[in-house]
Each structure stands twice: as structure tokens, then as C-alpha cells.
């Protein structure tokens, strides 16, 4: 274990900076679709952070948690986009 902890630290710092930039867009976003896009990117960054933590602690159950986060992000994004477009989620 010589260079892997440094690379994982770089990854965590980069993902945290990306999440902060998405949070900035989520707060100042001019329209509601900008905020939805920032929320989708936040879900993506959370998935990546869970994957990196799974490498960091070398456990297998974190990857299934990452799969759950990805599925939750897609369902929430699709439901919110459908609600903004047609006013109701399910016909």
C-alpha cells in the first residue's frame, strides 16, 4: 500500500469539489430544470463516492449500495422530469 491511498484521497477531494459545484448550481439555478439537472449530477457523484469508498475499505457490500443509489437517482429524475412536463407522473 504505497500510492493507492493518495490516489483515493485525490478522488475523494475531486468528487467533493464536484458535489459542491453542483450544490452551487442547485441553489442559484435559474429554472427548475437546472435544479433537476444538478440533482441528477449529485446522485451520480454520490454513486461515484460510494464506489471509491468501496475500494477504500475493500468491502463488497458498498457496490450493491452504489447500485441502489444509481437506481434511486434514475427513478427520481424520470419522475420529476415527467412531472414538470405533463403535470402528472403516471397517466
Amino acid at each position: 500500500m504505497m500510492i493507492l491511498p493518495y490516489a483515493l484521497g485525490i478522488c475523494m477531494v475531486a468528487i467533493t469539489l464536484s458535489m459542491l459545484l453542483c450544490l452551487y448550481r442547485l441553489i442559484i439555478g435559474p429554472s427548475i430544470v437546472d435544479r433537476l439537472l444538478a440533482l441528477d449530477t449529485l446522485f451520480l457523484n454520490a454513486t461515484c463516492l460510494v464506489v471509491v469508498l468501496g475500494i477504500f475499505w475493500s468491502t463488497t457490500s458498498f457496490f450493491e449500495g452504489a447500485l441502489l443509489v444509481a437506481m434511486l437517482g434514475f427513478v427520481s429524475t424520470a419522475a420529476l422530469a415527467r412531472y414538470f412536463t405533463s403535470g402528472h407522473v403516471i397517466d
Binding site: 500510492i3 439537472l37 463488497t60 447500485l67
Partner: protein, 132 residues
Amino acid sequence: MQLFMEILVSFFLVIGAFFMLVGGIGMVRLPDLFMRLHAPTKSSTLGLGSFLIAAIIYAAFEGRFGFPEVLITLFAFITAPVSANLMAQAALHLRLRSMSGNVPETLDRPLPWQRQRRNLRRYEKKSNDDLV
């Protein structure tokens, strides 16, 4: 062997970190929603893809097959264009303006679940013209 695995995993991790940072910066820097839709695709394909390649290599050197990583890759690569398309349809429905000028044909084009209603309205109009 351990050093070789660490170099390989660290290489893909640093590439993924760079592209995640590019996606986050593009989220703030780009001026328009339709340009801003490009930013998370970089971090979803290249960033998440590189992280999952690193995780698969790490799992292979630990002696197990990374099946959940392959599932995350498949799921992310299938659902990213679908959610981007849904958000673009929502933006077209809310009539958000693009910085690159007016695009009337895309604004007038009906959404897939409005096409039936639009055709019905056109038919009613034509029948009224026939009556007049």
C-alpha cells in the same frame, strides 16, 4: 505484483477524478441549460466508467469477480441518455431559451405523448373548415 496493481488502479482512479472535476466545473461555467446538459455526460461515462474499471481491476486482484460493478456500469450507461432526454423534453416544454438563437421548429414540435392530442385538434379544425 502488488505495486503493478496499485499503479493500474491509481491510473484509472486519477483519470476518473479528473473527469468528475470537469463535469462539476462545466455544471457551473456553461451559460445555458442545453449546454449544461453536456456536463454530466462526461462525468457519467468517463468518470464513473473509470472508477468502475478501477474497482473491477481491484476486485480481480483480490480474487473475486466484480459482478455488482458490471451491473452498475450497465445500469448507468443505459439510464444516463434516458434521463438526459427527459430533462431536455421538460426544458422544451417549459420553453427555455437557448443562447444560440431561436429554434422554432424544435419548440413547435409536439412531445411524444402530445402527438395524439395535436393530431386530434388538427382534425377538428379541418372538419370545421369543411362545415364552413
